[in-house]
Amino acid sequence: MAEPPFLAVENVSKAFGPTRALDSVSLAVEKGTVFGLAGENGAGKSTLIKVLCGVHAPDSGRVTLDGRPHHPRDPEEAERAGIAVFHQEIPVCPDLSIAANVFLGPAMPRRGIAPDWKRMNARCVELYRTLLGEDIDPERLVKGCTAAEKQLALLVRVLSRSARLVILDEPTTALTPPEVARLFGIIQHLKEQGITFLFVSHMLEELVQLSDAIAVLRDGRNVGMLRKGEFEVQRLSELIAGRTLSQTARRSALRQGTPKVEVRGLGLPGEFRDVSFKVQQGEILGIAGLQGSGRSAVVRALFGAPPAATGEILVDGRPTAIRKPADAMAAGIGYVPEDRNALGIFHEMDVKLNVCMAGIDRFSRRGFLDARNLRGIAGHMCDDLSIKMQGVDAPIRSLSGGNQQKVLISRWLALKPSLLLMSEPTRGVDVGAKEEIVGLILGLSAEGYTFVISSSELEELILVSNRILVMNRGRVSRELEAGEATKDKLILAATT
């Protein structure tokens, strides 16, 4: 090539301990184009972004920006080099005006020690006109703005600081379809002015629509580059998924008859609607979908936290009102939440109380603690689940993430539930613990425990589930039997 690309990434590698987050990744991004980056969670997209914007230094490899080497030591240096990142969460000051948010920082126009509001507002209007081709009221407070308007304010903010490469990290998750169209229009407009974009998204259709080229990362490697004209959603989802795992032949015939749990027309405004399914005793039902597709909310609704607004839940064929966790527990339902630290663990307590908490009344005598009984139950559960610890009196914080997760599972197993709900059962645990937890779930289902599992780890879902529901924008978009579920089918159903 005669002209060097605007951004060139050559053989960049980055390892965290034994995990190779990036494995000789190379990319070339032309000036004034939108470059799409696709891949599953953990494929290396975030690491690549962090290398570009100075959060991580690569272990090896070269990055050049506009012909000059680009190895920022910190995010500030990357910003000075003209790189701006757009995160999923939008950091703004809600009680300040749009103009103030655009100019906030050392370069804010001022008169003496006071901000020069007049000049700031005028420049803000001008920036919006030249950059976005739109008119705005610069004095509006940001807290009154929609998510899309906040994003635009941030876009103007970074562009006003002469950003040349804008990294869009899942920019559309909080937007409505017309807002997405508007954002894409603005990106096209900015492209023509020579701004380059790196566009990261889970939504394959959006990637195809907006990008001039797409690279797919998988397990830290660049596994494929597609140029405009070669795009195909099907091909992309195959590339993202990689080889499909061979199925494990463990499934025994499920008992037919009255389902353990049946859900009819469940709905919760803003989260999900028209969700219906049946789960047989001993079955593992997986729910797949992107973040925000409603899959976690469905699982929580079965536990009454918060309950669904419409629809019916039948447990063992009987209509059961589940308004709060206690109702679900009375119906024999347990719930292992997705965020272990925020929603599960009692950080100041020891292992035995963490195990026994959900059944604390049941394991005690007339309201008085029976330490011996609690120790016995906790010890028994921890043996069953082979939880590694110094003893049941050890503080929960002394356990590894995987073992803490097993403690949360044992909290419900101690109650012998007939249905166990799980959200992201292996989030934040290492590979070995992941395998153990998967094995545990399979073993328990063989004993007759019933599961509904919501997870973003597709391989794991395929491995354990008898059936997988795929949710997309609050609805069930597909239902797949164990034999027919493959990663690319799931990705396709979740993203289109």
């Binding site: 536990f303 936290a305 966790p325 206690a326 527990m329 719930y335 939440p337 925020a342 929603l343 599960g344 663990i345 009692f346 950080h347 100041e348 307590m349 109380l353 908490m357 959900a358 604390i360 009344d361 005690s364 309201g367 008085f368 603690l369 914080r397 909290r411």
Partner: protein, 325 residues
């Protein structure tokens, strides 16, 4: 930390728990310091005197500990303390009711106020610091209006003996017995019952507690009832000892109770605390005050010293707890 040190640590922990042990050591050190300087400090008479003086505060501080562990505060305890006293006094003197009936009515009034605190927080979900700051003023106002700002005096022998004046064996003042009995009650409640576990769970991780089927709002409401019950009991002890009630009594009691709990290792963020720790926390505050009096220090300097003790205790606690993590 090597193995030997860890084993030693768990041995100590088995006795008291690391935090409580630290406060005990501090209480002993302060006692040793004052007894070297003033020989009268470490006499049974003086120790019992300290305990008697601090019994009311200690009773409230222990209940406050339960509430703080559950993740809430009650700034209105001083107001409830005043209302209980004033209601009891008015019913016994102006209406001439039997003192037992009057005292029961006073306690009931206090409990009602505690119930209102709990209800306010449960229904509006406003921060308890703000909610009880406002009820503190309201309750104080009620005490002022009822009494018209005037103190009320009594002459009731047996009742006064039972709650405030009598000394067992000519030595052990009854308020100390009430303090001890309440301490045992609070200890068992917080550390030996399922309710206590739910209190810790609620303050440790509210959402996780909700998801474990614990009715965290009810736990908090019960804890508010408990602080009002403690305030009522303390008010009866005060009334019996002083033979008088004033509508301004107990001003600043709420902050002293919180301070005692904090010196005793209770975390303001909830989920951590102990009744034994709060007992020593209360004791340390009283020790410092009495010791300074015996030294003949200016009364104004004493407050400043107590403030320094609080700061010191919190610094030590933070150090201990961060090292533990």
């Amino acid at each position: 930390m090597d193995k030997g040190a860890r084993a030693k640590l768990t041995a100590i922990q088995r006795i008291f728990g690391l935090r409580d042990f630290g406060v005990l050591v501090a209480a002993v050190l302060i006692a040793a310091f004052f007894s070297v300087i003033t020989p009268v400090f470490l006499t049974p008479y003086n120790i019992f005197n300290i305990l008697r003086q601090t019994a009311e505060l200690g009773i409230i501080a222990m209940a406050m500990t339960v509430l703080i562990v559950a993740g809430e505060f009650d700034l209105s305890v001083g107001g409830i303390y005043a209302v209980t006293g004033v209601v009891t006094g008015l019913l016994a003197t102006r209406l001439g009711l039997d003192i037992w009936v009057a005292a029961a009515a006073g306690m009931a009034a206090g409990l009602l106020l505690g119930f209102l605190n709990g209800l306010l927080i449960a229904t509006t979900r406003i921060n308890s610091f703000i909610a009880t700051l406002s009820t503190m003023m309201v309750f104080r106002g009620i005490a002022m209006v009822l009494s018209q700002g005037q103190p009320i005096s009594f002459k009731l022998d047996f009742f006064m003996d039972l709650f405030g004046r009598a000394e067992l064996g000519g030595m052990l003042p009854v308020p100390v017995l009430w303090f001890a009995a309440w301490g045992v009650f609070a200890y068992v409640l917080l550390h030996r019952t399922t309710f206590g576990v739910k209190v810790f769970a609620t303050g440790d991780n509210r959402e996780a507690a909700d998801l474990a089927g614990i009715k965290t709002m009810r736990v908090k409401q019960v804890a508010f009832l408990l602080t009002s019950l403690a305030s009522g009991l303390a008010a009866l002890i005060s009334l019996s000892f002083l033979k008088t009630v004033t509508p301004t009594q107990g001003t600043g009691l709420e902050l002293e109770a919180i301070a005692a709990a904090v010196i005793g290792g209770t975390a303001m963020s909830g989920g951590v605390g102990s009744i034994v720790g709060t007992f020593f926390g209360t004791f340390i505050m009283a020790e410092v005050r009495t010791g300074l009096v015996l030294l003949g220090t200016d009364a104004y300097v004493q407050e400043a010293f107590v403030g320094l003790v609080i700061a010191l205790a919190v610094i030590v606690n933070v150090r201990l707890s961060t090292r533990r993590k």
